[in-house]
Symmetry: C2
Subunit: 286 residues, 2 copies
């Protein structure tokens, strides 16, 4: 049982606590986050608690995965709130390192995953997935968990991490967890806090367009046509500025033309509302 949350800030302390838990025969679950926790993160912790005996959560806004014009410095942070949420969710150990603890000197090492990291967000955010792969691998080396839990909201991130873990034989089970949504369908995201009331209202078109598309995702359908219908639906909202809408094979993220029975595809989209870029997706077996 969870005896209450402990918070540590150094690599040495995490390792000490995890090593002790392992000596007690506990299976270690790991939930890496950038904080500003919401019910999506809580669902990852719940899954980790079902699967493991000791749950470590990291909160680290990783500068390596933000581009020069992205929202690293204004990314929302609220560690007091996060500690409460993490404790209530049943996290055993909260790891909140500073940037200096994680990167005490210039990082010369980069982990890159080609192909899966190239379409979708990889196009709009060059270098983003290198930053993700590098920090996730480093966190895995620090925490040395048995299993790690990732939301399917970041479906491409999940595909990149799964590929990295397979290629490098990283001894961590990667457990995908379904997207959590607000009651009205908006996919939960720490960035939703940026939205004005009007943007928030119009952003509902994302989940709605994905839902509408589901009926069209049938054997024999042309991915291009389904995609165009989604684009048209999103464009009914004047504040929506589409970055991409794509239908690809999942998890390889290779192109798809005519949908085939049994094929697994992802319908993925990224849309800006004002300064806020939101992503959403559905993974569907045809």
């Amino acid at each position: 049982m969870n005896k209450g949350l402990e918070q540590v800030t150094t690599i040495a302390e995490v390792r000490k606590r995890v090593s002790l838990a392992k000596q007690q025969g506990k299976r270690i679950g790991f939930v890496p986050t950038m904080g500003y926790l919401h019910a999506g993160h809580v669902s990852l912790v719940e899954k980790a608690r079902q699967n493991c005996d000791f749950v470590v959560m990291s909160i680290f806004v990783n500068p390596l995965q933000f581009g020069p014009n992205e929202d690293f410095s204004r990314y929302p942070r609220d560690i007091e709130h996060d500690r409460e949420v993490a404790g209530a969710a049943g996290v055993d150990l909260l790891f909140t390192p500073t940037v200096e603890e994680m990167y005490p000197s210039t990082v010369l090492t980069t982990v890159s995953v080609t192909q899966v990291s190239e379409p979708l967000c990889g196009k709009s955010r060059p270098g983003h997935f290198d930053g993700v792969a590098t920090v996730v691998l480093k966190l895995f080396q620090i925490v040395q968990p048995d299993a790690a839990f990732f939301g399917q909201k970041d479906a491409q991130q999940l595909a990149v991490i799964q590929q990295m873990v397979r290629d490098l034989s990283v001894p961590v089970d990667i457990v995908p967890c379904p997207i959590k949504r607000e009651k009205d369908g908006l996919a939960m995201s720490s960035r939703n806090v940026y939205l004005s009331a009007e943007e928030r209202e119009q952003a509902l078109i994302l989940s709605r367009s994905l839902q509408q598309a589901q009926a069209e995702l049938k054997p024999g359908a042309l991915a291009r046509e389904v995609r165009e219908n989604i684009v048209r639906t999103i464009e009914t909202q004047p504040l929506a500025d589409i970055d991409y809408v794509e239908i690809l094979q999942y998890p390889s993220l290779e192109p798809v033309t005519t949908l085939q029975k049994g094929q697994q595809v992802i319908v993925a989209l990224a849309v800006r509302f004002g300064h806020t870029r939101l992503i959403d997706n559905e993974i569907v077996t045809i």
Copy 2:
């Protein structure tokens, strides 16, 4: 004590054996090699046995670290001989995976270390150190050793691995081991077997030129002048075809001009004799 050598070929088997040894409280030492073992490798095993309770050696000629015109296919292999040498040296577990076991599908993940991997062999062998960093990290994930042992013969490789381990917080102690030389001074290398009698004779100039240089490596000396003297010495041998001779700071591999007291520098060289490219170096504190 060493109860005799066991050989395994799969990732699952290595993990099982290592996990058992860890449960018995043993400290795991790891010696990654490309086989065709010589006294240099044996010295790594000896160091590992002093430092650890259970020694794993891998033999894997890693295709990722060979360029298209390099000697991957003709790299010398003799697993029967290697098994004997490893057993006599006191290796507990020999891991000899096939290429298919290590890379069952196309590897999309690459680990790159900038700066330290760029000069010296990085210039002559583009992509080489990406291949080295990637396979070493993968082997570390497979074996999960407490310590790993590398020869200073491959000084740049060692610097790249040390940087990678630091940047990614890989939980493995990297232990450098001194170069082993034949009685006449030639640095031991699996590639020495390629040399004709005449090439072998002329190749002695490498260690001799490094030894001569030692007397000149004093505070106030100009690295450029010491380097030129080494080049002149090597060029006395007609079969010697210089790839590079460099003096750099170690382990950063940054340029150096006037040598300063207390500075650690490497004198590194790569020279071809016929089709055989040999490397040698001396690391000196001024």
